[in-house]
Assembly symmetry: C2
């Protein structure tokens, strides 16, 4: 069913063509009067008061997108997991730790014109977080039962009322990058997936540069290697041109 | 058996009395010619290339102890997990990610006069780290089988040849702090446990201050609330006086 949906999506006449002049457009004022919500960083899912499950994410790409949206004149809410980055001046920043907290913060921040889910949200959490530190018992392995976290991207993209005009997700993959990103686009119901390889040799985690491919129903647009700041700027220019009512 | 061992340890005439004048002794030169190994920070245990299990630890206390040992004239090897702290100038720093890497680095850094295990080493790791990102499958929860990590503190304390004269561990507990620290002292075979509460209201994680109790076979010495730097200095002074051959 997913494959059929992707094929259908890819065969459609595109509603979201990526303008060819994205690279040469200055961003100032492009999002004036627009509301943008960005999620950034990892989530930490507690196992007990000292242990947690985490995703690798420095938050640099998400924070760069929030800064680019601010520079383009948008009103920006940044919902961020635990990162070692300063809050971008001018953004409304909400600091969260878990996926459930991030989900509630995003819901509370809606409505918005654009939602960019750049956070690496943990897919699973421990079913119960122990209230006290779990002691090591040589006779017994700790049983860690995992349950699925809310899917923030799909929930935002599938909203009936109050869906942002543009919903953008990220696909961090170690293999089959483009195929997985295309599948994610269809499965989550979002408008754009930024696909980036996170194989360790790519150096994406914590690094200053990134190489992404922008996947929409229109197809796949591989971008050259850029700084995370440049990717943020160019993404914001691209999104501004895709917004309903934007001059084309 | 553990209770008996603790009772025996606590009833012994102490071989490690904590000098009363620890607070007023300047540390410069106290560890000249001595070798000190300190572990610091958390370990990260990979589940797959993007997910990991971690302990909460900023590394601030461990790094402060390494700096205090350097200030006292020691030759210092700092084995640190992933932290957002600069390497202390003058220390030989080894950056590791997992408990097994930390264990190998400590073994390679021995011999030493003093070992301080301040790192929050993950007790468990995933039995197998998946080489590629685990895909979310709605029909199946990921099975996370945990296996025990090497116990670095006990391994160093129980060495036959080449055991450091002083082996110091930390006990981060949310409940029964002193009882757990006393049990850990006996169970691991080390000379001193620095017990600190990590209940969230204590603010220990990531904070600049700490309140600890120093547990030795001689008994329990509760220290006042201090900065992590002050705790490092006072610990180094205390250890210098407990070293074989130290002037008393």
């Amino acid at each position: 069913a997913i494959v059929t949906a992707i094929e259908a999506a890819l065969s459609q006449d595109t509603s979201l063509p990526l303008p060819a002049d994205v690279w040469r457009t200055p961003s100032a004022g492009l999002l004036a009067g627009r509301r943008v919500i960005v999620t950034s960083g990892p989530t930490h899912e507690p196992i007990d008061p000292v242990r947690y499950i985490a995703n690798r994410s420095s938050g640099k790409q998400g924070h760069a997108i929030a800064k680019a949206a601010l520079a383009a004149g948008a009103s920006v809410t940044l919902v961020t997991g635990p990162v070692n980055l300063p809050d971008p001046p001018g953004a409304s920043c909400i600091h969260v730790e878990t996926a459930r907290e991030m989900y509630r913060a995003v819901e509370a921040a809606l409505p918005a014109d654009i939602f960019v889910g750049a956070a690496a949200v943990a897919d699973w959490r421990a079913e119960e977080s122990a209230p006290e530190k779990i002691k090591k018992d040589p006779d017994q392995r700790p049983a860690l039962t995992l349950v699925e976290n809310p899917d923030i991207l799909a929930a935002v993209a599938r909203r009936g009322g109050g869906r942002p005009a543009l919903v953008v997700g990220f696909a961090a993959e170690t293999e089959n990058l483009i195929d997985n990103a295309k599948a994610k686009l269809a499965r989550k119901g979002c408008d754009m997936i930024i696909a980036n390889s996170v194989r360790s040799e790519a150096g994406t985690f914590g690094g200053e540069r990134n190489k992404v491919a922008v996947v929409t129903a229109a197809g796949v647009d591989p971008w050259p290697e850029l700084t995370k700041g440049e990717i943020g700027e160019r993404l914001i220019v691209a999104l501004s041109k895709l917004l309903p009512g934007a001059a084309t």
